[in-house]
Assembly symmetry: none
């Protein structure tokens, strides 16, 4: 694995602006008519025009062959080695939904599930109940379980069958195993400590007690009568992008998860809707206040996960339509890339390197006409770990001083 | 950053010869007529002919996005990770001018500057006085300040407004801050210690006393009546190229800085003039005595820094004209590359990867016709850190044994 270099001695500020525009899950593999990828098929006149002043390349999010989740894929783009900066799912969710997630709190991501009379899981996602229905279940939990053994308990709805649980108290540990057995036909697991430390052992007992009381409170539900807890985690304390790179950074992302990971590296959240035209407006409205903007386009990933080639092509074209308004802001560096590939042919995230273009006055253009995996393969940025994108962005924006005499 | 591998267990000697021909600042970005780079525009028939038996590629000197100074750019080409092997400017200059720079000495690079009656800097480079004029000022210093508090002081002219100061005595430390405030309109800074160690504190006092006496001695000068000291440094003790790679190495470089960095890795300096035909003759005259030759061509970088596209093209062509005489020596490996890019469009060093060709009987040629960034981008050497060039050179010269059974 490549290592992270501490750039602080070379970081300088110069008023330049960088936009990182992430088309989630953009990368693909050939599929459908003509054996082209989704991006190779989509009409992307705006990205293609940017190629005239852009270097392109392929970014490998984590490590060769490693398929990243949303957290690591984005952290790498922000310049954080995702192997070094790991975060539990619970912490990501807590920050993402805007919960007041404090030092020492332990969060877990919950999935409501359906249990039969014997307590056996019959549906790990409780029939993917709609968010409104889920909110009512969460409201019951909020009423029923507020405190256990001196530990405060907070319940927050997320989306569909998903919710968030946060424990707040002294000496809590997040070294706790998931209770999700990852299959149906068995009962939820008990919360087990990951080591024999006092904090882990006592926290496991408390979490187990909390979940038992909670399941009792919703036992009457038809679908969401069980709870599976995953990714117990505390809030990590990481150096911010401002500390590491000297940029005041903002995020425009309509989905809590992406806002969450951006906040963990110190980005401030701007209003976002997941409608690209409105999200670009939100970014533009804050143009003077920040140096670095991360704007997230979600729908491409969803279409990839759904295995819907036409939809993914359509959404890539919609993402492309957001570019002119971003260009109008005259950023010094405008990057289009992705957190990971989500090939339609695979209906899920994959390890395949993602296409990237970095447009700047200081770029070395590659003479290619179409933004696609094939052309990015021969681009000046080469094939490299995603975490190197950020130093390159800073360099192209004139934000890194000379190294050595 | 990639890590350096210890090659010693595999190094073998076989009488083969390697030439590393550095065209300083060669890399560029598109500019001028046709939107080509400097190298893409220049006629380089000799380098192009070498491509028939060469692998080409792009080398990244230090780290993605990092712009190297001359020291790190060259150290990387010599196979030394420039992040691991860092050196102060003073030490580089001392070795470069051929000063008898001993263990324990502390060197600083000086810039003569112009001070007004109140001691305020009005010109940080003393009107870039010519070298002959500068030598007279240095002669005054040599007369006036020879010893302070038992510490010997040496003054050496360098070029134009630049000079070298070396302190020799017991217990000296180089943990001293620059006195150059990096701007005009203020007075030179006092020498401050970088930490509270006894050596640093007392060395700062001595250096300050030396500089005060020196400025008194040249107070009557019209232009060079002040001194700014930068890069206090001791001579580093690094393993030589012979120790690391088993090659007896020599340098042909007309400019002190490049000779200096080469000497730090154990190269012996051959006569050099910065006239390529004569420098190649100097190399040829020592052909039997060494295994590895670093020959440096300076003018390309200067033209890049001057922002003069035509001049850079011209000097690239002149550098190319040096190749036939080198080929006549029948080296086993002949490399043409650069320490860093100096795009005319940027008038300074940059982070852009540099083109490289490695000609050898054992090379895997790339079927390209012109030596340029665009073609190197798709070459067999790939895009990789410059410090990997040296192991590749050794391999192509048959100087690395098999790894494992």
């Amino acid at each position: 694995m490549a290592t992270t270099m501490d750039l602080r001695p070379w970081v300088q500020t110069n008023g330049s602006k960088i936009i990182l525009y992430v088309w989630d899950g953009l990368g693909g593999i050939p599929y459908g008519p003509g054996g082209k990828t989704e991006l190779g098929t989509a009409k992307t006149p705006n990205a293609d025009r940017l190629l005239g002043q852009a270097s392109c390349g392929l970014l490998e999010p984590v490590y060769p062959g490693i398929t990243p989740g949303s957290g690591p894929g984005h952290l790498a783009l922000f310049g954080y080695d995702p192997v070094e900066y790991q975060i539990g799912r619970g912490a990501l969710e807590a920050v993402g939904v805007g919960f007041d997630f404090r030092e020492g709190d332990v969060a877990a991501r919950l999935n409501f599930c359906t249990l039969d009379a014997a307590g056996i899981i019959t549906d790990r996602r409780a029939g993917r109940i709609p968010t409104d229905e889920s909110k009512l279940v969460v409201a019951k939990l909020q009423q029923a379980v507020k405190e256990v053994d001196g530990v405060e308990v907070f319940w927050t709805p997320v989306k569909e069958h998903r919710a968030l649980m946060v424990l707040r108290g002294k000496g809590l540990s997040d070294l706790l195993e998931d209770t999700d057995p990852q299959k149906e036909g068995v009962a939820p697991l008990a919360v087990k400590p990951r080591d024999k430390s006092e904090g882990a052992v006592s926290s496991a007992k408390i979490a187990q007690k909390v979940l038992a009381q909670a399941m009792k409170a919703i036992a009457g539900e038809k679908k969401a009568n069980g709870i599976l807890a995953r990714g117990f985690a505390k809030r990590p304390h990481w150096p911010t992008m401002e500390e590491r790179f000297g940029v005041r950074a903002a995020v425009v992302a309509g989905t809590p998860m992406y806002r969450g990971v951006a906040k963990l590296v110190g980005m401030e959240a701007l209003p976002a809707t997941n409608e690209i035209a409105r999200d670009v407006e939100s970014l533009a409205a804050a143009w003077d206040k920040y140096d670095f903007f991360f704007i997230h386009y979600k729908h491409t990933d969803k279409a990839g996960e759904d295995g819907d080639f036409e939809a993914k092509v359509h959404y890539i074209e919609e993402a492309d339509s957001g570019l002119p308004a971003l260009e109008k802001l005259r950023p010094d560096v405008l990057i289009v890339t992705a957190d990971h590939s989500t090939p339609v042919a695979m209906k899920g995230h994959s390890w395949h390197p993602v296409p990237a273009l970095l447009a700047a006055r200081t770029a070395r253009p590659d003479g290619v006409q179409k933004f696609c995996e094939f052309n990015c393969k021969t681009g000046s940025l080469g094939l490299r770990p995603s975490m190197y994108l950020m130093p390159l962005a800073l360099a192209h924006a004139g934000r890194l001083a000379k190294f050595g005499a």
